[in-house]
Amino acid sequence: MTSIDPTTRDLWQVISATDEVPVGMVETTMLLDVRLALTRDNDGNPVVWRRTDEEQGDEIDPETIMDRLPAITGYGYVWTSLGNPPRELFPIPEYAEADRKNMSCGSIGLAVSAPRAVENFLDMGHFPYVHTDILGAEPHTEVKEYDVEVSEERDEVLATRCRFMQPKAAKSATSAMEVEYVYRVPHPFCSVLYKSCPEDENRRDVIAIFLQPMTEERCRAHLLQSMIDSTSTITDLRRFQQTIFGQDKPILENQYPKRLPLDPRAETPIRADKSAIAYRRWLSQKGITYGVIPMAS
């Protein structure tokens, strides 16, 4: 049995898009090697518990579930915890802006650890090769110098001044543009990306990836988009994001080891990996051992 470190145990963990959980019917999933069942009550609030003999699709009266795990909703998703979670989820204030199109883009299984998926999300070096003619194109392969800090106050990794030449930066993009990114890692298994918005130069599109660690080597990626886009439909916007994510999937699933090594000598970083180095160090300092290969002590 895998042990779950105390930090991971006490975090809020994402488990499903809220509106994909039917009222009065059982959904099943796995979190940190624990089988879970969930449903929503008549008010639409999530109810989460440890699964015993429930099957997907069973009808259930949520009132009969006594032994519940903590559950909240945030950013269109249901979050739970196996320990004592903080009062609130990390903030994404933009999500509340009235004119944004907020959407889940599907929960997709990945045969890799959650931290590997976070790290891939932070990486710009692969854009021209994996997202050819969308997020990058040869010969514009350089990852320019950018800044990384760990914000003590907010307890998150922050990468700023990330710039990249992109042929089609978003569904709303009509021509190539140099895009500026800001990456936040406000949770060991979640990252939020802000990128220049083709439609409004004063605002930024928000794309977030919330990873649900199912086992140490498997996770479920929940994708959130919060976009400034007055013309595209939700289906269009989902399709754009799924196209990108579908390109990342085989690359991610071919990473070995599947757990993320935290020893700085385990893999050879280049300058472009500055954010990944900060992320790995941050995980180490937090005492995360789930889904990683900790530094030898």
Partner: protein, 216 residues
């Protein structure tokens, strides 16, 4: 002529049609269908196009068609002036349709495993994987003996047919279903040949063949 494809980017069955239309240099419009997570292929408006609730659907002017294999045959018959992609010869037609049926078996095994692991469909993963390996073993042998006889493709003619297009996507995406192709070298060489067909195009999860051969 106006062709419209009702399409989901991550669907291998939809990709079969994008691939053949790219090879045949056909222009078409795409209507995106939110298969996942939106399940729009089960929505009323979609069921009016295809009561079986399956992607892809293709409209050509007033004609509405479904089933990827049937549509491959239609597109080849109607728009391939060379007649190579779906040959007229009765014996070869039977051979091509035989492999279209194998393509459906690949969908119900390799694609089912991918849907279970990637999209959380409630399918028996181990059974689907086992079924896919059985088909891949047979294909690998068929292609290995073919190479010995100077045959590069699934069917007899000295050029690819819709049989190759129909079988390609879910072979190529098999690793997403936890099905390695490591033990099937002739199958892998065939996927490289498909990826070098002029007009070849990719989908998410399928990468172009390396440049080694072109440059050599």
């Amino acid at each position: 002529m106006a062709i419209t494809l009702y399409d989901f980017e991550l669907s291998g069955n939809c990709y079969k049609l994008r691939l053949l239309m790219s090879i045949l240099k056909l222009r078409y419009d795409i209507v995106p269908v939110d298969f996942y997570p939106g399940r729009q292929h089960k929505a009323d408006w979609f069921l009016r196009l295809n009561p079986f609730g399956q992607l892809p659907v293709l409209k050509d002017d007033d004609l509405t068609l479904s089933d990827s294999g049937a549509i491959l045959a239609y597109l080849a018959r109607k728009y391939d002036d060379t007649g190579l992609w779906f040959p007229d010869d009765p014996a070869i037609t039977a051979e091509v349709l035989r492999w279209h049926a194998v393509a459906d078996d690949i969908t119900s095994t390799a694609s089912a495993a991918r849907l279970a692991l990637g999209f959380f469909y409630d399918f028996d993963v181990a059974k689907a994987q086992k079924g896919a390996h059985r088909i891949f073993r047979l294909m690998d042998e068929h292609l290995w003996f073919g190479e010995r006889e100077g045959r590069d493709w699934l069917c007899g003619p000295a050029h690819p047919t819709t049989a190759d297009i129909a079988c390609f996507p879910y072979v190529m995406l098999s690793e997403e279903g936890g099905i390695s192709r490591q033990d099937y070298p002739a199958l892998r060489r065939w996927t490289d040949r498909v990826r070098r067909i002029p007009g070849f195009t990719v989908m998410s999860g399928v990468f172009p063949a390396g440049r080694a051969l072109e440059e050599a």
